[in-house]
């Protein structure tokens, strides 16, 4: 490369006017090509590293969990938390996570989808609309632990009479607030993708705005909306930081008593189980942390898979 001087023209453009273009000028420039190969090599390395990260996480967790899961699989799923490694399990975590997911979907789905409909279908370009859009975008970037603080102040302490303090209700409502901006953003995108010809078609037949939304826009946007909503549930199931602040228990011994106790009493969740086990001395508890991780991962992956399948089926149903 450095040898290139004005005397040895490399570029065909620089060949003298009288000279005929030779095949040499059209040949591959090996040095240039080599740069390209090296660049591609680096890109492939990056992809390989990313792949290695995924595999390393999954394999590490699987190997560490093998012992616990092979010897006490059902006990691990069915037992409550305990200070005895042989009897400790994640039943309370599974129960808490399922209840939290339920509360999140009841609260966050309707409000999130409603907000998206407002932003995309009703809102005109006013200051209020812009305020809503800006707050939604910024809320999506607020660290999850800050939502924990909010939950602590409002649900655990402010609404203690209803939520019962540090309870599944508080945790569910906190995580509902956490995923709300995500649901609004994904639902807005899904609604925005609906062609305006569809709306015009319905308006042209004398439908009111609400009828247009209910009968055309929402059904057509449903695959995207539901996928986003379901993925947000997966996100809520994996969150531990807000639960720590809201007061999820590391261990609690009260059994399943009254129905109300289940909602207002002490609680924990699967990611909390993982964190608790991981914080204990590793020589005894690493296997439990890994096994709880496996349960979380299976749950999260299953939900993601469900979202993909649901999207495919709904799209097919709407399509040709």
């Amino acid at each position: 490369m450095t040898a290139t001087t004005p005397d040895t023209p490399k570029s065909p453009l620089k060949t003298g006017a009288g000279k005929r273009l030779t095949l040499d000028a059209l040949k591959r420039d090996r040095s240039d090509d080599l740069t390209g190969q090296v660049f591609l090599g680096l890109l492939l390395l990056a992809v390989a590293i990313a792949g290695a990260m995924v595999l390393a996480v999954l394999i590490t967790v699987a190997i560490d969990a093998a012992d616990v899961l092979s010897t006490q699989f059902w006990d691990f799923l069915n037992n409550k938390s305990s200070s005895d490694p042989a009897r400790a399990g994640v039943a309370q975590g599974i129960r808490g996570s399922i209840l939290i997911a339920g509360i999140v979907s009841i609260v966050a789905f309707p409000v999130g989808i409603g907000a998206a409909v407002y932003l995309e279908e009703y809102a005109s370009d006013t200051k209020l609309t812009r305020l809503i859009e800006v707050t939604v975008r910024n809320l999506a970037g607020v660290p999850s632990i800050v939502y924990g603080l909010l939950g602590l102040a409002v649900f655990v302490q402010g609404l203690r009479g209803i939520t019962g303090g540090s309870s599944v209700i508080s945790a569910g409502l906190t995580l509902a607030l956490l995923v709300l901006p995500i649901i609004i953003i994904t639902a807005s995108e899904a609604i925005r993708a609906i062609p305006s010809t569809l709306r015009e078609g319905a308006y042209g037949l004398g439908a009111t705005q609400w009828e247009v939304i209910r009968t055309q826009v929402l059904p057509a946007a449903m695959p995207g909306i539901l996928t986003g909503a379901v993925l947000s549930i997966a996100r809520a199931l994996g969150e531990a930081a807000p639960l720590l602040v809201v007061g999820a228990a590391a261990f609690y011994s009260t059994g399943f008593q009254g129905q109300l106790d289940q909602l207002q009493g002490a609680f924990t969740a699967l990611p909390m189980n993982v964190a608790t086990f991981a914080k204990l001395p590793a020589d005894v508890w690493a296997g439990h942390a890994a096994a709880a991780s496996v349960v979380v991962l299976v749950l999260v992956f299953a939900i993601n898979l469900a979202a993909i399948i649901m999207r495919a089926r709904l799209t097919k149903k709407l399509g040709r």
């Binding site: 062609p195 042209g204 037949l205």
Partner: protein, 281 residues
């Protein structure tokens, strides 16, 4: 160049109709101006649309013919920055009166759009949509069948009414949209370049359909296809876009409105003549 030409709107009030008796007026338009924000897109349009006739709007693109059409069922209300000024009477009722609900207007004045836009539902549900939201009584199945027959689509789709409408061809989709529009039994059908996305054979089918439907509906059609206007319409309005002297923006104007025969054989305005003989546009 436009300055040298005679006054813009010619002969709008008393068309030299060959028939002795003048049919009933459906739309009366006076001094209609449409603004997009500060931009005046359509300038001082005045014309009348008559019952059980096909009225065609022709002109080069950007001349405001679709904009004017969309005033007739207040589709322009859906555009935030659009503003309509002037008089637009439907059977002597001001369509832009504050008591008028645009949704109720669209129930009576149906519309077929440029691109076929069936809902992603079954063929049956597409046609039944309008009657359902309007609460039209009676036998829905029968209504769907009548509407599809009216659009000349029944024979082709009667065995697959529950299949998705998106599986139909472009021409079939457009006829489905026509069936969907007539299922609510409107008085008027507005058609915004209904054939521009279709092949010639499908276009022919729809033109034939329009001639049949003329017995029941008043039809206003916007088309960029002069031959189509000549073939199907009774009256033709020619619009053009002219640069504003002060701002230089191109604004839509009605040049001439008359019997289709006269517009194409003996236009009064030089610009119309230039357009219909293919010298511009």
């Amino acid at each position: 160049m436009p300055d040298a030409l005679p006054s813009t709107v010619v002969n709008t009030t008393t068309p030299t109709n060959a028939n002795a008796e003048t049919p009933d007026t459906v739309f009366t338009v006076r001094d209609l101006n449409v603004y997009y924000g500060d931009f005046r897109a359509v300038v001082d349009v005045g014309l009348e649309v008559y019952e059980r006739e096909i009225t065609a709007f022709i002109g080069p693109s950007g001349c405001g013919k679709s904009t004017v059409l969309r005033c007739f069922n207040r589709m322009n209300d859906l555009i935030d920055i659009a503003r309509v000024e002037g008089t637009l009477l439907y059977h002597d009722i001001d369509l832009y009166h504050e008591d008028v609900d645009p949704v109720a207007v669209r129930r009576r004045i149906g519309m077929v759009f440029q691109k076929p836009n069936p809902f992603p539902k079954s063929i049956y549900d597409n046609v039944a949509f309008g009657p359902k939201i309007a609460g039209i009584g009676g036998d829905l199945d029968e209504l769907v069948e009548t509407s599809l027959k009216g659009a000349g689509l029944w024979e082709e789709v009667k065995d697959r009414l529950d299949k998705s409408a998106l599986g139909l061809s472009g021409g079939q989709q457009q006829r489905l949209c026509i069936a969907r529009a007539i299922a609510v039994q409107p008085d008027v059908l507005l058609m915004d370049e209904p054939c521009s996305a279709l092949d010639p054979i499908a276009t022919g089918t729809i033109e034939e359909l329009m001639r049949e439907m003329k017995n029941q509906y008043t039809i206003v059609i916007v088309t960029h296809n002069m031959q189509q206007a000549a073939r199907v319409s009774d009256r033709t309005a020619f619009f053009t876009a002219e640069a504003d002297e002060s701002t230089g923006q191109r604004r839509g104007k009605l040049v001439e409105y008359d019997d289709t025969g006269l517009i194409f054989s003996n236009p009064a305005d030089k610009r119309t003549e230039a357009y219909v003989t293919g010298r511009f546009g």
